[in-house]
C-alpha cells in the first residue's frame, strides 16, 4: 500500500530564482498576505511525495473542451483556440497521467465568478472551466475561447493581460504548481505586476508560443505551452 521509505525519490529543489517573491509592492494584495518570515527548510518525506488520487470517472467527456462543456443554446462567442503542450520534469521526462485544471475569463474579459463586477457581458454558453489528464507523453490539450483582457483595481488604469489559469500537481504534493499562461505579443504584459513580479529572466516561461502546426485550418488558432515541474533527482532504489 505505502511505499517503503527507501524507495522514495528525492525531489529537485524549488528554483527560488524563477518564482516571484511573496511580497511584491507592485501587486498590492501581496502586502498583507505574503509570508514575511523566512521559510523553514523541510526535506520531503513520505507525505509530501504522495500524488493526490482522483477518480478518472470525475473527468467528463467534454471537460477538456470549453467550447462544448457549458453550451446552453449555441456556441460560445470569441476566437476559438487550442491550448496544448507537455508537462515535463526538469530532466525533460514527461509527467504522464497527471491532472491539469484550467479556468479563465470569456472572450469579453468577464469571469462567471460572482465576485467579478466587470461591466462586460457574460456568455451563456461559456463557463471557462476545464480539466484533463496528461497522456503517456505528458501531453495535455484543451479547446477553448481566447480570453479577453479586463480591468482590475490594483492601480490606475490597471488591466490584466489575456491569460489562462492552470493548476497541476505533477508527481507529488510537493511539486504542486498553480500558474498563469499569457499570450505572445500582448502589449499589457509589461504593465502587469503579476507578470513583472516574476524575475525578468524567467518571464518567457509564462508565455505560450503561437503555433501554425497546432492551428487547425478554418477552425481554431493553436498555442503551445509546456509546463516544467520539479521532478525526482535520484532514481528510486528498487528491490528486484
Amino acid at each position: 500500500m505505502t511505499k517503503t521509505p527507501g524507495a522514495q525519490p528525492v525531489l529537485t529543489p524549488r528554483d527560488w530564482e524563477a518564482h516571484p517573491s511573496y511580497i511584491y509592492p507592485g501587486y498590492k494584495s501581496t502586502g498583507k498576505r505574503g509570508p514575511q518570515k523566512p521559510l523553514i527548510p523541510l526535506k520531503a518525506s513520505l507525505g509530501e511525495l504522495q500524488q493526490p488520487v482522483y477518480g478518472h470517472d470525475s473527468i467528463g467527456a467534454f471537460d477538456h473542451d470549453l467550447t462544448r462543456n457549458a453550451r446552453v443554446n449555441g456556441e460560445p462567442l470569441g476566437e476559438r483556440m487550442i491550448l496544448t503542450g507537455q508537462v515535463l520534469d526538469e530532466r525533460r521526462r514527461p509527467v504522464a497521467n497527471t491532472l491539469v485544471e484550467l479556468w479563465q475569463a470569456n472572450a469579453s474579459g468577464r469571469y462567471v465568478h460572482k465576485v467579478d463586477q466587470h461591466d462586460a457581458p457574460l456568455d451563456p454558453n461559456f463557463l471557462g472551466a476545464g480539466r484533463c489528464l496528461t497522456d503517456s507523453e505528458g501531453r495535455y490539450r484543451f479547446l477553448t475561447i481566447k480570453p479577453g483582457a479586463y480591468p482590475w483595481g490594483n492601480h490606475p488604469n490597471a488591466w490584466r493581460p489575456q491569460h489562462i489559469h492552470l493548476s497541476l500537481f505533477g508527481q507529488s504534493f510537493a511539486s504542486r504548481l498553480v500558474t498563469q499562461m499569457y499570450f505572445p505579443g500582448d502589449p499589457l504584459l509589461q504593465y502587469d505586476p503579476m507578470v513583472t513580479g516574476t524575475p525578468e529572466r524567467y518571464r518567457n516561461r509564462l508565455i505560450a508560443d503561437f503555433s501554425l502546426d497546432i492551428t487547425e485550418e478554418g477552425y481554431a488558432l493553436g498555442y503551445q505551452f509546456d509546463m516544467v515541474l520539479r521532478g525526482a533527482d535520484e532514481t528510486p532504489f528498487e528491490n528486484r
Partner: protein
C-alpha cells in the same frame, strides 16, 4: 518559423502565479454552486475509513487580522493507519481519499472545514500531521505548512520537522482539540503575517 520557441530557449521550472480571486468555478465548482463538478472536496473519509473521525477547521488571517474569504486550502494526509491510497481503486476500498480541497468563501464564518480522520503516523519518529497548501489572491506562490495535534505532545516532542521549527513558533503548527457531544474538532488558524505568523516550509 523561429529556430527555437520562446519556451524552449529557457528550459526550467515554470514560475508560480497567484490562484487569483476567481478559482471557485474552476477548482471548487460544486462547493460554490457552479454547474461543473470537482474532483476533490472537503470530505476525505467515508464511513468505512479507518481512524477517528475529526473535523479540521480554521480561518486564514491576513496581516491586518482580517479573515480571508477567498483562500483555497488543500490538505493531504494518510488514514488512521498511516496509509495513503495509491490508486482510485485503493481509495474506494479504504473509503479514504487522502486529499481534500475547500475554499473559504462559502462558510458563514469564512472558515475552511474538512471532514476526515485523525491521521496515523507515517514513519517511525514522525508525529501524526496533515500537509497543507494555502493559495489565494495576493499569494504569488502557494504556502506549505503542517497541522500537528494538541493531544500528541509526546510524539510532537520527538518529531524532527516540528523540532526544526524555532521553539517560539511551534505553537503555530499545533491544532487545538475541541470535543463537543462526542464529536472531535481540531481548530487550526493560518496567520499569513504578524507575531504569530504560521511557520511555512520550503519543501
Amino acid at each position: 518559423m523561429p529556430l527555437m520557441t520562446a519556451q524552449a530557449a529557457d528550459f526550467g521550472q515554470t514560475p508560480s502565479q497567484t490562484v487569483g480571486p476567481y478559482f471557485a468555478y474552476g477548482l471548487t465548482a460544486t462547493q460554490y454552486g457552479y454547474n461543473f463538478n470537482q474532483p476533490f472536496d472537503a470530505v476525505l473519509a467515508l464511513d468505512t475509513a479507518s481512524g477517528q473521525r475529526i473535523r479540521l477547521e480554521g480561518r486564514v488571517i491576513d496581516g491586518d487580522g482580517n479573515t480571508i474569504h477567498d483562500a483555497l486550502i488543500e490538505i493531504s494526509q494518510p488514514d488512521g493507519e498511516g496509509r495513503y491510497p495509491q490508486t482510485p481503486d485503493e481509495a474506494r476500498a479504504l473509503g479514504f481519499r487522502a486529499f481534500g480541497r475547500v475554499g473559504t468563501g462559502t462558510d458563514a464564518q469564512h472558515r475552511f472545514v474538512f471532514h476526515t480522520v485523525k491521521p496515523g503516523a507515517q514513519a517511525p519518529g514522525e508525529a501524526p500531521h496533515i500537509n497543507v497548501i494555502v493559495l489565494m489572491r495576493g499569494l504569488l506562490l502557494h504556502a506549505f505548512t503542517r497541522v500537528y495535534f494538541s493531544d500528541e505532545a509526546e510524539a510532537n516532542a520527538k518529531d524532527a520537522v516540528l523540532q526544526s521549527v524555532p521553539a517560539d513558533r511551534r505553537h503555530t503548527l499545533i491544532a487545538e482539540r475541541i470535543e463537543q457531544g462526542g464529536a472531535v474538532t481540531y481548530r487550526f488558524d493560518i496567520r499569513m503575517q504578524g507575531a504569530d505568523e504560521t511557520a511555512f516550509f520550503d519543501v
